[in-house]
């Protein structure tokens, strides 16, 4: 489609006007909020966070109360029905958000911290430190994740949310460390890092001030990704019964639904809500991840812009 010539004129006027304005560089956060995918992802995620915080206020019953009619389908009294043990599903989903999100964010935070420490040290220091850290990272990387978590979780006696978060966090950092290492390797060879070295800045200052801020989008993307995989791993572990099955979380709900033969008895209201919640949180995190990716790598959004131009 040929764009009308007329359109070019106001465009150039607009750009002329821009010269007078003081152009403030948009910060990384405002750019992220300007991204549709990121905004949607963040909105959905924040809804779940609100749900976790307000659980005592919004949940109709106690999640551990077993005094209701078992396997009652959804009704006005129990919006999402009841379990075979006579618990309210809605209350369980709402309360389960706490553990599921808590373990996910905690494990994600732990693994991103390890990733940053190992990746930056290896990429910036180079040499022997790099060789050792890269080897360790590669070894952790080739160990299949979930089986390792299962083995560790099975050996640790006191399995609670904290243990599970620790296990997931301590096993899930390798991919992030690898990505951050290669990025800091590239940043460390930039001339402005050389200049900072020549000024006599300490290594800590250079890493903190010159390298880290320039990879913040990558770090956010990796954090979001590790939270996502931590939530999925946590649900998987608890579904398999390696968590504390008396805790209320989405994973244990699925575990009990499976044990209580929810599928056989057609009690869809028992396993669909926690499954959907996991899927929604996963989707929100994936959306945020794509959004950050588009900002960090502008080439990805070129295609979209071109399509938008065509439409206008």
């Amino acid at each position: 489609m040929i764009r009308p010539v007329r359109e070019k004129f106001p465009l150039s006027l607009r750009s002329l006007r821009k010269v007078d304005e003081v152009k403030r560089p948009s910060s990384i956060w405002s750019r992220m909020l300007g991204n549709t995918k990121f905004r949607w992802g963040l909105t959905i995620f924040m809804l779940f966070v609100l749900m976790a915080i307000l659980a005592p206020v919004i949940s109709p019953y106690s999640p551990t109360l077993t005094s209701f009619t078992p396997l009652d389908p959804p009704s006005l009294k129990h919006l999402l029905g009841t379990t075979a043990n006579g618990q309210d599903v809605l209350s369980q989903v709402i309360w389960g958000t706490r553990i599921s999100l808590g373990v996910g964010v905690g494990a994600g935070a732990l693994s991103i911290v390890i990733s940053i420490a190992i990746g930056l040290l290896a990429g910036y220091k180079g040499g022997l430190a790099d060789k050792i850290l890269t080897t360790v990272t590669n070894i952790v990387l080739v160990i299949p994740g979930l089986p390792l978590i299962i083995v560790v979780a099975a050996y640790v006696r006191a399995t609670g949310p904290l243990t599970i978060a620790l296990v997931i966090g301590l096993t899930g950092w390798a991919w992030g460390a690898r990505v951050l290492r290669s990025q800091s390797l590239s940043l460390a060879s930039r001339d402005y890092v050389t200049a900072a070295k020549l000024q006599g800045n300490s290594d800590a200052y250079i890493i903190r001030q010159e390298i880290l801020p320039n990879m913040i989008s990558l770090i956010v993307a990796n954090f979001v990704y590790s939270v996502l995989s931590a939530i999925l791993a946590e649900a998987a572990l608890e579904f398999l019964g390696f968590g504390n099955v008396s805790d209320v979380s989405w994973g244990t709900m699925l575990y009990w639904a499976n044990n209580g033969q929810a599928l056989l008895s057609g009690a869809w209201w028992w396993f669909v809500p926690p499954g959907l919640a996991i899927a929604m949180v996963g989707a929100s995190l994936a959306l945020m991840n794509y959004g950050v990716d588009e900002i960090a790598n502008p080439k990805l959004s070129v295609h979209r812009k071109r399509r938008a131009n065509k439409r206008s």
């Binding site: 152009k23 560089p25 930039r190 001339d191 402005y192 050389t194 200049a195 900072a196 070295k197 020549l198 000024q199 006599g200 800045n201 001030q209 010159e210 801020p213 320039n214």
Partner: protein, 333 residues
């Protein structure tokens, strides 16, 4: 031994930096099939106070490796570098920090030389704070490099290449350096502003008494900017002389080739004075003169022994076996 009246003593009142037999090597390949690359091969020279010393050579001649060795980004494999009489080739820790602050660098690519997330003010202020320099302020430094102070809260992407290069120079000057190693500072700038950056650097030399090692592949700008010019080829220093002298009477066949390849008003109709286009062999196994495969005056010993260093005059030295070239200066042009 090199017979060098300029380098003979380790401490010369005039010299700020004396480099002797500087060698930089890189180990390549796997540990069991180790190959060693020698980008800087036994190079000696000295830099006098406030002097602009040009370093000319083609890609891969070792220019940038010398720059990185002088600023101690690379640690030399062997050799000595005397900075005010102290050997700084292998110092570490706080000594190295102090030395580096005296030897600053201006980079080729002004786009990667500034942190994209920091304002001009932040980038220039950091070195001032670091050494507690109260002599200058960000304002005075920006003024010294010809930038308006309105620019100080801008980010690098809002500046042009020339403006960025001025910020880089201001940032280097903030530490009050004695030497600035300028690694092709104008080769990535628009042609129209190259001369102004060179004049700025020249101006700073006069005002703040800073010496330059000016690295370039362009003989014309080296002649415009520097007092003396060194020519490197394949990691070897092949010739050194005062700028005008080097242009008028080049002795080394490679310098002659460089001059013949420089566009000038006189049309160069004849073929360039060389016998091939091969790139120099930089492996540690290479013997003799690196230029031998392309040299018009090549002889048997050129491929076996390293050419001796000859001081033709007190300021004009050359590393070549073909000493008949020195007796009939300039005739091969």
């Amino acid at each position: 031994m090199i017979n060098n009246p300029e380098i003979g003593t380790h401490y010369d009142e005039e010299s700020v930096l004396e480099v002797e037999d500087l060698t930089v090597t890189f180990a390549m390949g796997s540990p069991w099939r180790r190959k060693v690359l020698v980008p800087v091969n036994h190079v000696s020279f000295s830099l006098k106070k406030d002097e602009a010393l040009g370093l000319v050579g083609e890609s891969g001649s070792g220019k940038s490796s010398i720059a990185k060795a002088l600023t101690r980004i690379y640690t030399p494999t062997s050799g000595e570098m005397y900075f005010h009489g102290t050997n700084v080739a292998f110092i570490r820790g706080s000594e190295l920090r102090k030395y580096r602050q005296k030897v600053q660098m201006v980079f080729q690519d002004p786009y990667s030389a500034l942190n994209p997330l920091k304002t001009v003010h932040q980038q220039v202020q950091r070195p001032l704070r670091l050494i507690g320099n109260t002599q200058y302020s960000v304002d005075s430094l920006l003024e010294a490099v010809g930038l308006s102070r309105d620019l100080q809260y801008k980010l690098p992407h809002e500046l042009s290449g020339g403006q960025r290069q001025r910020v880089v120079i201001a940032r280097a000057m903030a530490l009050n350096p004695e030497i600035i190693v300028a690694d092709e500072p104008i080769s990535m700038l628009d042609v129209s502003i190259r001369a102004s950056i060179l004049s700025l650097m020249n101006d700073l030399r006069r005002r703040y008494h800073v010496g330059y090692l000016y690295i370039t592949h362009d003989l014309a700008s080296a002649r415009f900017f520097s007092d003396r010019i060194m020519v490197m080829y394949g990691g070897h220093l092949v010739e050194i002389a005062r700028s005008a002298e080097l242009i008028r009477r080049p002795f080394h066949p490679y310098t002659q080739l460089l001059l013949a390849a420089t566009p000038s008003k006189r049309q160069q109709k004849s073929a360039l004075p060389q016998t091939g286009y091969s790139t120099p062999n930089l492996w540690s196994t290479a013997k003799g003169c690196p230029f031998a495969p392309r040299c018009l005056y090549v002889r048997g010993e050129c491929t076996i022994n390293r050419p001796p260093w000859t001081w033709v005059s007190s300021t004009h030295g050359v590393a070549c076996f073909a000493n008949e070239l020195f007796r009939q200066p300039g005739s091969q042009m």
